[in-house]
């Protein structure tokens, strides 16, 4: 794997910490990639893509682009979606992200996730995999996907045993080629398998994640607001609030099989708030 032998894959880097960005760019240069754009916001890549003959093949994008004191732009899943819409393959990266944040990025269209502490070799492998139109599955990502599948079952087109086995191999630190070999698949078929895994993750989110409105209701419940106050604040009717609470309860029960089936919608909203890390209200 020498720099000359590699076709010059065009890479862009979005990272708001200058130190980290410079380090990453230097490592990519060293690995023989053409870093065509680097920025602290995805919008800048959009700008740059207009002047380039074609959009960068792979963008390495930090998941947290909200450094204090900077004009707030897109961040997290939103940023990933923006880059995917530009036609780039996106490798999400972060200092450390919770499994939920990583899955959000995956659902937004990222084809891989790497922690910033990963080695240069790992970044190089990830970028070549993505440039080839495939995925880069780290053990942590495989594990997140498996846990997600366990916690949020789908009613149809659930992961096949083969897909689960593949993820289990990835979780043990096997490379894509090794996983393909162990399953007796050609690499192209493995990519197709991962396509289905990604699609399932997307459908899981759609089915179980709280909708923006439901999230707002959860946040207000956690602040101790009443039905009336929530309805007034969101500008909707009270029965609607009750409906939203019922949905929140359904979703909570679906993802928490241990919870009591007689759980009240309000209590479910409180528990959801705890799960989402939305602050508890203060004692009066």
């Amino acid at each position: 794997m020498t720099a000359e032998a590699k076709p010059a894959i065009q890479v862009a880097v979005v990272e708001d910490h200058e130190i980290t960005r410079d380090g990453l760019v230097a490592r990519l240069h060293l690995a023989g990639y053409a870093v065509v754009a680097q920025a602290d916001a995805v919008e800048a890549i959009g700008e740059a893509a207009r002047t380039l003959p074609r959009p960068p093949q792979v963008v390495i994008c930090d998941l947290n682009l909200r450094l204090p004191g900077r004009t707030p732009g897109r961040s997290g899943a939103e940023a990933i979606r923006y880059l995917v819409d530009l036609g780039c393959a996106v490798l999400a990266t972060s200092g450390v992200a919770t499994p939920d944040e990583v899955l959000d990025a995956v659902v937004a269209g990222a084809h891989g996730y790497l922690e910033k502490t990963a080695s240069s070799q790992a970044f190089v492998r990830a970028v070549s995999a993505l440039a080839a139109g495939s995925y880069y599955v780290t053990p942590a990502l495989a594990e997140s996907l498996l846990k997600d599948a366990e916690l949020r079952p789908l009613q149809q087109d659930e992961l096949t045993t083969q897909a689960r086995t593949a993820l289990r191999y990835f979780a043990r630190g096997n490379t894509a080629d090794e996983v393909a070999a162990k399953l007796g698949l050609v690499p192209g078929r493995l990519t197709a398998l991962l396509d289905r895994v990604w699609d399932a993750a997307r459908r899981r989110r759609r089915r179980y994640a709280l909708a923006p409105r439901e999230r707002e209701v959860v946040a207000l419940v956690a602040q101790g607001r009443s039905h009336q106050e929530i309805a007034a604040q969101l500008g909707i009717s009270q029965p609607w609030v009750a409906d939203l609470l019922a949905h929140i309860r359904d979703k909570y029960l679906a993802t928490h099989p241990d919870a009591s089936p007689t759980l009240s919608p309000l209590a479910a909203a409180h528990l959801s708030a705890a799960d989402l890390g939305i602050g508890v209200r203060h004692a009066t």
């Binding site: 053990p139 043990r172 009443s226 705890a274």
Partner: protein, 542 residues
């Protein structure tokens, strides 16, 4: 619970115990002091219902219980009951309209009519129909009777008018028979008043007013039936008033219970939430204060040349990651804690080790856990010594009921599998794993693209070794879970016994059948395997 509450007394959660005390106090006060407590009597139902709903709403509005205005002005059950009762009485009333038209029937059938003035009678019937429809409409719209006494009064007045009107349409000597048809309609008016007015003085006057009106209407065609008619008004009134009161009291109780249950749920949810927050705060405090800050301070003071710094920094970063990813290696005991310890040790040696992944669903016996941790340590030691690439090392643990696997994977040079079974460190560890039926598998090139994969595995373990401790456990299943486990074990044994019996039976039957077949086909020579009854049978055949 107690364990959950302890973090609340930490400095961060200072205000919380007082808050919980207040919550509990309010809860108690509500339970004992005001309605629904031990002093609660059904006789005070209405007062109790109102007071309960007031007290609850006040308590809830003060946010001590958190349900706030989740309850409508009236409890949900109470509102529904009120609606149903109102609807029922309105429907009864609507049905009675048919009877008002009954006196018209003889005329339609060509018999002698009862009424002297049929048009007046028809007008009365139509008015009754209109009024019943209006009552139904009003009930549907308002959904309650108690809060809407005007229409009860209107209805009673209408009933009185109807009596007089019908009375005028019938010849004086026919009134007893001619008016009976409208009796049911006016009786339901008394019921309505009982439901709507209850024990109010105005309400008590209604049956007497109706009885008086009835007597006047029937006059002068009076018979003994008048007594039972008048009694009817009183009874309908009393029955409906009692029924209404009973239902309302029950509804109020149901509402109260529901509100309390909901409040308890919310309290529990909040409590869990607070305990969780306190725990997280404590963890964050430890990760930041004990681990991260010293490192950052050292760097800030340009003491970065300190040779211990990289190791400390690595540990700090791992601790922070654990915190963010929600791994609870701090509190955990058992295999998880042992693995975390091993991992930390090798972080110090400079291994770029991701936080250990996988899941430990079943805790292996302590001795096995120690053997596994030792094997893991050995695997990491080998990575450190031979791999030549300290980056991207994965430690994966998967322990389920079916056994366990720890996978150590590196992306380095790969090492000679023979060193594992040879004189290496694994030689000492093997016997410990083998005792549990486990072992170590090492994969390297050419099976792998690069690096080495060491799998430490062990099969499912019996709940405990078959020694006297387990005998003791079998004898005295201490918990429900123990009893269930024991039951499962007994079933398994029975199933195994049954299976053995089945196999034996199948073997025997198979042998017998084959013997029969061979005998019939006249094969003298059998395979000669011992079959008890066969020789005799064979002898009987030529």
């Amino acid at each position: 619970m107690a364990a959950h509450l302890t973090p609340l007394s930490s400095p961060e959660g200072k205000g919380d115990p007082a808050r919980w005390a207040r919550t509990l106090y309010t809860h108690e006060a509500q339970r004992e002091g005001r309605p629904g407590g031990p002093n609660f009597k059904p006789g005070h139902a209405r007062v109790a219902a109102a007071a309960a709903s007031r007290a609850l709403r006040r308590a809830l509005a003060s946010r001590t219980l958190g349900v706030a205005e989740a309850l409508p002005a009236r409890g949900r059950v109470a509102a529904r009951i009120e609606e149903r009762m109102a609807l029922a009485i309105a429907l009864v009333r609507g049905t009675m309209v048919v009877l008002v038209f009954a006196p018209q029937l003889p005329a339609l059938l060509g018999r002698a009519r009862l009424q002297a003035r049929p048009r007046l009678a028809l007008a009365g019937g139509l008015a009754a129909a209109g009024e019943a429809a209006w009552v139904l409409y009003r009930v549907r719209r308002r959904g309650a009777i108690t809060s809407d006494t005007d229409w009860v009064t209107t209805d009673v007045v209408f009933s009185l008018l109807l009596m007089l009107l019908t009375s005028r349409s019938v010849a004086p000597d026919q009134r007893n028979a001619g008016l009976t048809a409208s009796l049911s309609f006016t009786l339901s008016s008394a019921g309505l008043a009982g439901l709507g007015l209850g024990r109010r003085p105005a309400g008590l006057a209604v049956p007497f007013l109706l009885a008086l009106g009835w007597t006047a209407s029937v006059w002068p065609d009076v018979s003994v039936k008048l007594i039972s008619d008048c009694l009817g008004y009183v009874l309908w009134y009393v029955a409906c008033a009692l029924m209404g009161r009973g239902f309302r009291a029950m509804a109020a109780l149901a509402d109260r219970a529901q509100a309390e249950a909901e409040a308890a749920w919310v309290t529990a949810a909040e409590q869990r939430h607070l305990a969780e927050l306190a725990r997280e705060r404590e963890q964050a405090f430890r990760a930041i204060h004990d681990e991260l800050l010293p490192v950052v301070d050292a760097v800030a003071q340009q003491r970065a040349e300190d040779p211990r710094l990289p190791a400390v920094a690595r540990r700090a970063a791992a601790a922070a990651r654990d915190l963010i990813l929600g791994r609870r290696s701090f509190a955990e005991a058992g295999l998880g804690a042992l693995l975390a310890e091993v991992r930390d040790e090798y972080l110090d040696y400079g291994l770029e080790l991701s936080p250990w992944g996988g899941a430990i669903e079943v805790e292996p016996p302590p001795e096995l856990a120690r053997a596994v941790a030792a094997a893991t340590r050995e695997a990491l030691r080998n990575v450190h010594k031979y791999a030549g690439n300290l980056n991207d090392i994965t430690l994966h643990a998967e322990v389920t009921e079916d056994g366990g696997e720890i996978v150590v994977r590196d992306q380095g040079a790969g090492f000679d599998p023979r060193s594992v079974t040879g004189r290496g460190g694994f030689a000492r560890i093997y016997p410990a794993l083998q005792r549990w039926g486990g072992g170590v598998q090492v994969l390297s090139a050419p099976q792998l693209e690069r690096g080495t994969e060491v799998t430490i595995w062990w099969p499912a373990q019996a709940p405990s070794a078959p020694d006297e401790t387990s005998a003791l456990r079998v004898a005295v299943p201490s918990t429900a879970e123990g009893a269930a486990e024991e039951q499962v074990r007994v079933w398994r044994l029975r199933a195994a016994g049954l299976q053995r019996f089945g196999q034996k039976l199948a073997r025997r039957t198979g042998a017998w059948v084959s013997a029969q077949i061979s005998a019939r086909q006249g094969w003298a020579g059998n395979d000669g395997r011992g079959k008890a009854g066969d020789p005799g049978r064979r002898r009987r055949r030529p």
